[in-house]
Amino acid sequence: MASGLFSIVAVVGVAFASYQERLSPSVASGLLWVILLFSSIVALSRSFVAEEEAGTAILLRLVARSHAVFWGKALFNLIQMFITAAVLSILLFGLTTQTVSHYPLYTLGLLGGCASLAGAVTLCGALAAQASNRSALVGAIGIPLLLPLIAMGIGATRYCLGGVGVGIASRAVSSAIGLSVYAFAIFAVGPWLFDVVWKE
């Protein structure tokens, strides 16, 4: 709820600020990924922190395999990210003058980026949940994981928002592929890393 509210307010704020002005593809892409990043951190770190604070993490550790917990949390986060990205995109392009010039590439980049975000923030949330200074730790752990991801995401979507030439399209494709590979790596390695983190 907090994440969704933040996303909507942020996009509406951008729309008001840029009223009747044309947003450049770079600015629009950067804004989109910054909003996605912050909404994911707000929502996804809570998935483990909430369990620790409510005292239900103990029950979960006793009855569930670590892989099952990881996949359950990660898949929920994945679906949430997809929905957030879809709503954000609709709002951003509906409320501003920005348009998408290459929908398949844009969708590929967005999906790969959301999958990577979901996997990375699931791991960060699990790492930080057991610490005393959780909020600061999520940020500290998240920066090296998430910055390359955001850079690739901006690269993937930026070139889909302006006119797309052959050279520009190939850059968008390589960024989108990079995001997909990042997502694959996170979900391939994540369960094993999570197993170590999940135990005290």
Partner: protein, 193 residues
Amino acid sequence: MLSVEALGKRFGSRWVFRGIEFDLGKGDALIICGRNGSGKSTLLKILSGLAAPSEGTIKLPEGDRRTTIGLAALDMSAYAHLTVAEHLNFTATMRGCAPALEPLLERLGLADRRNQLAFELSTGMRSRLKLALAIQAEPDLLLLDEPGAAMDAAGRAIVEEVCAEQRRRGVLVVATNDPSERKLGNLELELVG
């Protein structure tokens, strides 16, 4: 079934306990007592596999820990928006064991609360739910942290029955400050902190 040698746990530079040793077989019930902060709950969590010791070795019952070890910890909570029955079905699914819903509900006096949300339960009833979740898979090792706390007389009678049943099946370890619960065990360990 449960063997512990030179067990110790520290947080930072402070040792909570050191040099704990015991060897429990089927039918044994160990009562762990000590003042607040002496490490009773910490020791239970180490025995359940939730926490790692700082030194020493533990030999736990063989098999999948999800079904061979049951723990009812003081700081463990149920999911507020699941009902009693949903909790038992959920943990059974996660553990891969039969839910044994009706027998457990009857035995723990929760039959008339089966459709009640966990956050609506009284403290005593939540303790019974925790106990039900701990014994659901009929574990070889049952760990109880102050099981009688917040329980009424009927609840304490249920705890005694569960403990007696556990001793017939396996090993029981109870951490308690209540002198009346010492009769649940045949062995005592006092942590001096």
